[in-house]
Amino acid sequence: MHVPDGFINAPTSAATGVLAAGALAVSLKGARRELDERTAPLAGLVAAFIFAVQMLNFPVAAGTSGHLLGGALAAILVGPFTGILCVSVVLLMQGILFADGGLTALGVNITDMAIVTTVVAYAVFRGLVKALPRTRRSVTVASFLAALVSVPAAAVVFTLIYAIGGTTDVAIGKVATAMIGVHVLIGIGEATITALTVGAVIAVRPDLVHGARGLTRRLKLRVGGELVDAPAATPEPVAARSRRGLWITGLVASLVLAGVVSFYASSSPDGLEKVAADQGIDKKTERHANADSPLAGYSVKDIRDSRLSGGLAGVIGVGATVVAGSAVFWAVRRRRAGEPVEAG
C-alpha cells in the first residue's frame, strides 16, 4: 500500500496528513505514558525491529513468499501508541530514505498503514482478551484475530480514501472488491505470523508483551506451609483498562456486526469462494514485492455484489465514529487529567 505521489489528489492528501499529524501527536503523549522517558530508545529499537522483520521472508509455496506488515504485531507487543509511532517512523524513513511511498502521500500512508492497522488490531485484541479466559493461549488467539481484521480494515480505509480523492475513476466497487478480497488473504498470512511471533515472545518473556500484561500472576509466598499472596510492591496499573474495556468490547462488537456479519449475510458464499480461488495463487506471488499495492487486486474479475457496500459502509461508519469519538475522548481526558497517573 505504499502509495506514491499523484495517486491521491492534493486536498485528500493534505487532509490525511493533518489526520496523521494529530494521531501522531496523541501517540507521542500516549507513548510517553506507556514508556515514560525510555520512549526514545525503546520505540526506536522497536521501529528498527519492525523495519528488519519486514525483510524476513515467509515462504508460502513454490518460490513465492510474503512478509509481515507489522502493525498488529507492534500494537500487541508494545501497545497501541508506541506501535503507531514505530510504524509511522518506519514509513517516514522509508519515504525519505528509500523513496518508498511518496512524500505528499505520507499522510495517506501513515493513516492507512500505521494508524488504522494498529488501532483496529489493538481494539479487536483488547476486546477479545477481555472476553476470553485469561490464558496465554487466548492472547495468541486474540492476536491472530486482531491481525486478521487489521489488514482488511486498512484495505477498507484505503478504498475510502481512494473513493474521496482517487485521481482515476476506476469504479469504487471494483477497487473495494479487489482490495478487500486480496487483503483478506494477506490478512490470513499476517495473522498466522503475528500469532506465532507473539506466542514465541510470550513463551520467553511474557512481561515484555504489552497485550499480555493482565496475565502476570501475583507472587505467592509460602508462609508456614501455606501459600499467601505476596504484598503488591507497586499498585497494579489497571486504571487505564478498567473502564475502557467495556466500550472497546462494545466497539469491537459493533464493528464486527456492521462489517463482517452484514458482509457475510449479504454476499453470496459462492462469490467469496471464487475470490479466494481466483486470488489464492497469484495474490501470494505478488505479495513479496508489492504485497499491499492496490495493483495486486486489479487483475481480479468483476466479482462483486451491490450489497458488499452495505457491510463496507457499516465498517466505515463505525470506524469513523471510533476515530472521532476516541479523539474527543482523549482530548477531553487529557484536558481533565492534569496528572496522568495510569500507565496504560
Binding site: 507521542l28 510517553r32 530508545p41 523513496a99 485521481t167 507473539v198
Partner: protein
C-alpha cells in the same frame, strides 16, 4: 554515528547541492513534490519541464544518470499498476492498436506515472545528497517533534545492528540445516522474529540505561544546530519556485 552509517542511497560528495543545509533541501523537495502533484495532468509539457529541472539538480549534485535511473526502479509496482489502469477504468473508450482502452484510464495512468516518477526522483536526489544525520537534524529543524526525531534516529542507528542480528540468526538456522520451504516452517521463522523482538527490546533497555548513566533526562542536547543563510534558502527554494511557475503556466495555458 552518522559517518559510519551512511545509507545505501547516499553518495558522498561536495557539490553545491550536498553542502546546502539539510532543512532547506527537505523543504525544497517537499514543496517541489506538492507543486508537481497539484499540476493538471493535461499539461504534459509541464512534466517534461519538471523532469528537466530535476535533471539540472542532478547535474549540479553530480549524481550520475545511471544511479538515478537505477533508484527509480523502486517504482515498478506502480508502473505495473498504471499499465493496468486503462483496462479497468470507466468512461469512454478509445481503440489503440485494436485494444479498447479507457480514455480516463489512460489519463489516470499518465498521471500516476508522471507524478509518481517525479516524486520518487525528488526523494532519491534528496537522499543521495544528504547524510542520515543531516536529514534527522533537518527534520528537527523543520519542527518535527523532538521525540519523533529521536525515535527515528534510534531506528536509523540501530537498524543496521538489528538487521545484522537477523542475518546472523538466518546463518545460524541455515548452518543447522534449516531451510524454509513452505507454510510448515513458519513456526521456526516466527520464533526467530520473536527472539529478534526480545533482543531488540532488551537492547533498547540497555541503551536507555547507558544513556541515563551519561546524564540523559528525556532530551538529547543539540550541539550542532544547523542554520541556513538567506542565500542558501533562496538557492534551495529556486527549484520549487521554478516548478511553481511551470505549474501556474500549466493551469493558465
Amino acid at each position: 554515528m552518522g559517518a559510519g552509517h551512511a545509507h545505501r542511497l547516499y553518495r558522498h560528495g561536495h557539490s553545491p547541492v550536498h553542502i546546502l543545509p539539510p532543512h532547506t533541501k527537505l523543504a525544497a523537495a517537499f514543496a517541489f513534490v506538492v507543486v508537481v502533484v497539484s499540476t493538471p495532468r493535461e499539461a504534459m509539457w509541464a512534466f517534461a519541464l519538471y523532469a528537466g529541472l530535476l535533471g539540472l539538480v542532478a547535474y549540479a549534485a553530480r549524481v550520475p544518470a545511471a544511479f538515478l535511473l537505477r533508484r527509480l526502479l523502486i517504482e515498478i509496482p506502480f508502473v505495473a499498476f498504471a499499465v493496468l489502469m486503462p483496462f479497468v477504468a470507466e468512461g469512454e473508450r478509445v481503440d489503440v492498436l485494436g485494444v479498447s482502452l479507457s480514455v480516463s484510464g489512460l489519463w489516470g495512468a499518465w498521471n500516476v506515472l508522471a507524478k509518481g516518477t517525479l516524486g520518487v526522483a525528488a526523494s532519491v536526489l534528496l537522499a543521495a545528497t544528504t547524510e542520515l544525520r543531516e536529514l534527522l537534524l533537518g527534520l528537527q529543524r523543520l519542527r518535527l517533534p523532538p521525540l519523533l526525531v529521536q525515535i527515528a534516529s534510534f531506528m536509523i542507528r540501530y537498524g543496521d545492528v538489528i538487521t545484522d542480528e537477523m542475518r546472523r540468526m538466518r546463518i545460524a538456522r541455515e548452518s543447522r540445516g534449516f531451510q524454509a520451504r513452505g507454510v510448515r516452517h513458519w513456526g521456526v521463522l516466527a520464533k526467530s522474529a520473536g527472539a529478534l523482538f526480545i533482543r531488540s527490546y532488551e537492547r533498547g533497555e540497555r541503551v536507555h540505561l547507558a544513556m541515563v548513566s551519561r546524564g540523559y533526562a528525556g532530551s538529547l542536547p543539540v550541539i550542532d544546530q544547523v542554520t541556513a543563510s538567506r542565500a542558501q534558502w533562496s538557492c534551495a527554494l529556486a527549484l520549487p519556485f521554478a516548478a511553481l511557475v511551470v505549474c501556474l503556466l500549466g493551469w493558465t495555458l
